[in-house]
Amino acid sequence: MFNIVVYSLLSLVALCVLYPLVYVVSASFSDPQYIMGGEIWLWPKGMTVDSYASIFKNDAIVRGFLNTLLYTAAGTGLNLVMTILAAYPLSRSDFAGRNLFMGVMVFTMFFGGGLIPTYLLIKNLHLLNTFWVMILPGAVSVWNIIIMRTYFQQSIPAEMQEAAVIDGCSNFQTLIRIVLPLSMPIIAVTVLYYAVGHWNAFFNALLYLSDRKQFPLQLILREILIQGQTDEMVRASTESAIKQQRAVEGIKYAVLVVANIPMFLLYPFLQRYCVKVIMVGAIKG
């Protein structure tokens, strides 16, 4: 009985969410006119791959894709290491000063110098227009540190860590040999959160990169969408510029599909990997 409730609720939720997603995919293959007229319901109308063609015609797309892969891989790797390095000590109740450190970090979630001083800093560190500017300024996030810390506190029994110390493990060894293997779920989640963040990032690139060859995918994709937007300051335009605005309606959806498929598939992949590791961990426990 209970099962029926669970499964039907979940199915309902899935349906509510699924329908608009199908819509997005259908719209990406439809003639923009039908999209704007609200005539798309489930299946594509005026089937066309024009929207995708516009995207792939952009010479910089492949380059952008590769750049983003690089930024995401390197960035997430750094993020993960940094997050673990902060979350573990903070999770230890015998870590003197942990409230202070936590406070110092949380404070930065609310208060910051703003765009100009940050820009000046980046400039003075000679990070402008380099690969590092996509990695370093976002090296770690307080939110993820907190979440990982909570997980450590909650799910890693203190007795286990104490046992390890008695056995002669140093703090580093405890972290690496005991804590991390048991933390696969949170590591998977952390990797996912950071990876998606990197994948979608464009603002830093917009501000700090000027060489188009270094642009991430999102920035390249935006180029085409921006062209379809009218500028308040501009009056005289060409026919094709006006028509471009209409094409953008379809391109918006195609962009979504192109931009997000890789990330979308990341979690199932991570999940499969993590389930295996959890099984191992449970047996050990």
Binding site: C16, L85, F95, F110, P117, L120, I146, I186, V189
Partner: protein, 319 residues
């Protein structure tokens, strides 16, 4: 870090055993300090060093003078904001929307996670999970676009449905009383799957032996959820609640702007859209910095408050 250790050694003489054990605690855990040092260095460099920029909120920023030499104007910008004709409306809308988001939007991912956790059919579970977190990847522009199509008074699905039931068409987007509800519901729809991930991970860390024991004792599934699962992820819930309350004033500006029009302004005008509007005429860094600071202070105070309550109420807190 070296600095911290010296501080403790130099300041107080090592007289009592309590101090000795504290100091030796630090020494013993020196590796922990080393671990956290790169992270702290990062925060100091990229977050605290630029913080001198906060003073921009109290100055009249001049490009050629830079931040340090621009003239002080004290609370002028705040004054200007507080005296805006629409001030009360802005504050009220911002806070109401923020709270509404939390009251409705916070519990739902938890429920979803609990439900998913109960589904034993692996394939089904994975399918639902993947579907529900997909909307997170949709851009705001597209979500609002879709919403407007579905709510269209002429041919939108919703109004057709209403018409079929014999009702009158409703122009949802033009109605101030609908704005917040639409905002929150679409937000829940978009984020519930993604937000449930963290709760699922936490649920995965609950000892299965507890469930075994409870089952042997004859507890029904609902009781098991209530007494084992929920308490098991309580720290996660509390922490996330604290963090969410601490961002009450920081609402998604882009989405509100897209959903806003002259007719629903009474309900949809929030602080950030006001700043945006007034900044169109005049790229005024100082003014927007001031208002940003105001929101940040309120959020921060809220966080501190809620954290203190959480700590008193039972153990889990941010610090």
């Amino acid at each position: 870090m070296a600095m911290l250790q010296q501080e403790h050694v130099g300041r107080k003489p090592l007289k009592s055993t309590a101090r000795i054990s504290r100091f030796s605690k630090i020494l013993r855990n020196w590796q922990l300090y080393v671990m956290i040092s790169p992270v702290l260095a990062y925060y100091i460099l990229f977050h605290y060093v630029p913080m001198y920029g906060i003073q921009i909120a109290f100055k009249d920023f001049r490009i050629n003078k830079g931040i340090w030499d621009s003239p002080w104007v004290g609370l002028k910008h705040f004054d200007r904001f507080f005296h805006s004709f629409f001030f009360e409306r802005l504050i009220f809308n911002t806070i109401e929307l923020g709270l509404y988001l939390i009251v409705i939007g916070f519990p739902i991912p938890i429920l979803l996670a609990l439900l998913l956790n109960e589904a034993k059919a692996e394939r089904f579970k994975k399918f639902v999970q993947t579907i529900t977190y997909a909307p997170h990847f949709l851009s705001t522009v597209v979500v609002v676009g879709m919403m407007m199509i579905f709510l269209n008074p002429r041919y939108g699905l919703v109004n057709q449905f209403i018409g079929a039931l014999g009702g009158d068409t409703v122009n949802f987007m033009a109605n101030p009383s609908w704005f917040k509800t639409l905002y929150v519901l679409s937000d829940v729809w978009q984020t519930m799957g993604w937000s449930s991930i963290i709760y699922l991970a936490a649920l995965g860390g609950i000892d299965t032996q507890l469930h075994e024991a409870a089952r042997v004792d004859g507890a029904s599934r609902i009781r098991r959820i209530w007494h084992i699962n929920l308490p098991g992820i309580r720290p996660t819930i509390v922490i996330l609640l604290i963090l969410n309350l601490g961002s009450v004033m920081a609402i998604g500006f882009e989405k509100v702007l897209l959903m806003q029009n002259n007719l629903n302004l009474a309900s949809s005008d929030i602080i950030d859209t006001y700043v945006y509007r007034s900044g169109i005429l005049d790229a005024n860094y100082s003014f927007s910095a001031a208002i940003g600071l105001f929101s940040a202070v309120i959020n921060f105070l809220l966080l501190v408050l809620v954290n203190a309550v959480a700590r008193r109420a039972g153990g889990t807190s941010l610090w």
